[in-house]
């Protein structure tokens, strides 16, 4: 009888400490995004993408090339689930800073992911750095973000610098094909994103030994109600190509103004931003036919990597439109976080930071090999591609290894 009781309680104790029964504590990630305000649309798309990533990590899916899809949680942390807590920046650097302070005071999150706009990412990551807290940026593109010598800041997306290098390689190729390309008009919003994109283009033009000239430098107010003056400036300059660093609502105003004012530029190239939003190509139809821009995801990537269809379908079920580059970068960031948690010796800020710094994650979500950060915190395994709107869809047109369609140059009138 005594022996039976000892055995019974022994078994209970054993089961109590068994990992299968005593589930590991979930790991919280704080996600800073503009969920209200003028950029609520891209913010909510990023949120949906992060939700998809967490569902895959926490569940079990057969997705070759997508790590942590089969394992149900974080394997080395007892199968701990990823928990997301969203914080709304409202698109404002001040609100973003206050929310970051709140995340740090709450003390539950093990990592911050944010914050879409470069102008919000910059101050919020400073707040995190001051507290020596790891900050993973998925999509902000200002090259300056990884030039600040921060130790706790990491970025997945290609920067304006990478996009600029790609644009000029593309333009050089167009030149070789006999297209007339030398005069550039630069149109950019007066924000961190716009100013840095403009700086990178200026540097590239200066290095081109006169092969390219900037014939119009047109900054404009973010949240503009009317862009006719800007478009007429472009018209007066008669460029061969216009480069945009523009968010969605202004990009749409620009597209409509180019059309209504009869401004025909042979090529219209966009840094990441409004151009990538699938609504742009789908809803504006012929108005934006043959517009081009950098992209880290287009629907026809699925033809090259079939597993992306599952991700796209899951995303589409939430927001009723396809993934775009920005959303895919946000989605990837949660996998990078999961990988860092998995490899970190514990979940202290320094251990997570060290794990991020040594990331070598091969993942099929983005063009390029995956994610590996250099000393500045910039992902050096990512590539960018050039897409073009063809018949209301984004088609990758450059470089050749990713291309599914031929570049249309000049744009069809």
């Amino acid at each position: 009888m005594k022996r039976g009781l000892v055995l019974f309680f022994g078994l209970i104790l054993l089961l109590g400490f068994s990992p299968a029964v005593h589930a590991a504590d979930p790991i919280e990630i704080a996600l800073l995004y503009p969920l209200t305000g003028p950029l609520a649309d891209p913010g909510s798309r990023a949120k949906a993408a992060c939700d998809v990533a967490a569902e895959i990590i926490n569940g079990s899916y057969d997705l070759p090339g997508i790590p942590y899809s089969k394992t149900q949680g974080i394997p080395n942390k007892g199968g701990a689930k990823i928990v997301r807590k969203y914080y709304d920046t409202q698109g404002s650097p001040e609100v973003g800073k206050a929310e970051t302070e709140r995340i740090l005071q709450e003390g539950k999150a093990k990592l911050i992911i944010g914050a879409y706009q470069s102008s919000v990412t910059k101050p919020t990551s400073f707040v995190a750095e001051r507290q020596k807290f790891p900050y993973l940026c998925a999509e902000s593109s200002s090259a300056a973000l990884t030039e600040r010598g921060l130790k706790y800041f990491f970025r997945i997306a290609p920067t304006d610098y990478h996009d600029t290098v790609m644009f000029f390689q593309f333009l050089n190729d167009m030149k070789k094909e006999g297209k007339k390309v030398s005069k550039i008009a630069m149109v950019y919003e007066k924000t961190e994103f716009g100013f840095h994109a403009n700086e990178e283009v200026k540097k590239a033009v200066a290095k081109s030994n006169g092969a390219y000239q900037i014939v119009a430098d047109i900054p404009y107010e973010f949240k503009a109600t009317d862009v006719n003056a800007e478009v007429l400036k472009v018209k007066a300059a008669q460029p061969d190509v216009v480069l945009h660093a523009t968010q969605f609502s202004e990009m749409m105003l620009f597209a409509k103004a180019y059309e209504s004012l009869g401004v025909k530029v042979p090529a219209n190239l966009s840094f990441c931003g409004g151009y990538q939003n699938p609504v742009f190509a789908k809803e504006l139809g012929k108005t934006v036919e043959n517009y081009m821009g950098s992209c880290t995801f287009a629907e026809d990537f699925i033809a090259k990597k079939a597993q992306l269809k599952v991700l796209n379908d899951m995303f589409k079920a939430k927001v009723k439109s396809n993934l775009d580059g920005v959303a895919m970068e946000a989605l990837t960031s949660v996998f990078v976080a999961a990988d860092a948690f998995n490899r970190a010796k514990d979940l202290s800020p320094d251990a997570v930071r060290d794990a991020l710094a040594t990331t070598e994650l091969q993942i099929a979500t983005l063009p390029g090999k995956g994610v590996k950060f250099d000393e500045s915190g910039q992902n050096i395994w990512i590539d960018s591609t050039m897409s073009q709107v063809v018949g209301g869809d984004y088609k990758v047109v450059w470089p050749a290894e990713w291309a599914t369609a031929k570049t249309v140059w000049p744009m069809k009138p």
Binding site: L35, T36, G37, P38, A40, D41, G43, S44, K190, I218, P219, Y220, E221, K223, A224, T225, D226, V227, N228, A229, E230, L232, K233, K235, A236, F248, S249, M252, L253, K256, E259, S260, L261, G262, N277, V279, E283, L284, G285, K286, T287, V319, S321
Partner: protein, 288 residues
């Protein structure tokens, strides 16, 4: 500067200026009669644009055809706003009504965000959408041109309504002295309610027309609201013809000034001119 480009800037300035004017007329009407600055005015514009879009998306109604319904709907929104938000705070310090409209603005925006979502919407298959024409070397978008013409007509109609009709006289009387108007047998609460409705209907018309060529999202009204506050102050609080002319003035400064000095300074220019005007004429260009 190329003459064609200069003329195109003038035309563009006028086209957007007329739309600004009608939005500001709705705002100045409410201020002129009730001494209340309606902070939710931009959100009324957004409601009109979303109403137009939803009728287009769900019923297949072209924004031009749904326009009378949008205007009627916004008139009702104005009446209800007066009944539920403004009337309870009438007679208290003006700041309370101002804060009430501020709260209403946040409420409307978040309500739309919650029910409709933050996504950008575009009406790109309407009767007016995507149609352009040229005249004397100048380019016109049909939707913008029709919007501008419509806004001029409605502004003129509002002006005539106030200047020439019995309702207009009672409105002006209430505006000048509410207590005396009451003694003369004018139902001032009814005048206030109709004024709020009329102001919202004006912005309803502008929103219905804007939906033909402008992206629709929950924050869209903010951009226009700030500009219409400036226009109302420039034209003189409560002055309809002042708001009309100031709207055109702002449209022209934005376009011509923006082109000549730099697009990055076009809003700075508008605000500098606004500061100069109110420092010299605190009641605005046409205020008394």
């Amino acid at each position: 500067m190329d003459t064609t480009i200069f003329l195109q800037l003038i035309v563009s300035g006028l086209l957007i200026g007329f739309v600004f004017s009608l939005i500001a007329v709705g705002l100045t009407l409410i201020w002129g009669v009730m001494d209340i600055l309606n902070f939710a005015h931009g959100d009324f514009l957004m409601l009109a644009m979303f109403s137009s879009f939803l009728m287009f998306a769900n019923l297949g109604l072209d924004p031009l055809l749904s326009l009378p319904m949008v205007v009627a709907l916004l008139f009702m929104v104005g009446l209800l706003t007066f009944r539920w938000v403004i009337r309870p705070v009438l007679g208290y310090p003006g700041l309370i009504a101002l804060l009430a409209t501020f709260g209403l603005s946040i409420f409307i925006r978040n309500l739309v965000l919650f029910f409709v979502g933050p996504n950008y919407r575009v009406i790109n298959q309407s009767i007016l959408a995507g149609k352009n024409f040229s005249m004397l070397g100048l380019h016109f978008s049909l939707s913008q041109t029709m919007s501008a013409i419509g806004c001029v007509l409605i502004t003129s109609a509002v002006y005539l309504l106030i200047a020439r009709t019995k309702f207009g006289r009672s409105l002006r009387a209430t505006s000048l002295d509410k207590d005396t108007a009451l003694l003369m047998g004018i139902n001032t609460n009814r005048v206030f309610a109709l004024t709020f409705g009329l102001g919202a209907a004006c912005v309803g018309f502008a929103g219905g027309m804007l939906s033909n060529f402008y992206p629709i999202f929950p924050e869209v009204g903010l951009n226009f609201a700030i500009m219409s506050f400036v226009i109302v102050a420039l034209g003189g609080f409560g002055n309809i013809s002042g708001a009309f002319l100031a709207g055109i003035f702002v449209g022209l400064v934005e376009n011509v000034g923006g082109f000549l000095i730099g697009p990055e300074f076009k809003y700075t220019l508008v605000f500098v001119l606004y500061l100069i005007v109110i420092s010299m004429r605190p009641k605005g260009l046409f205020g008394w």
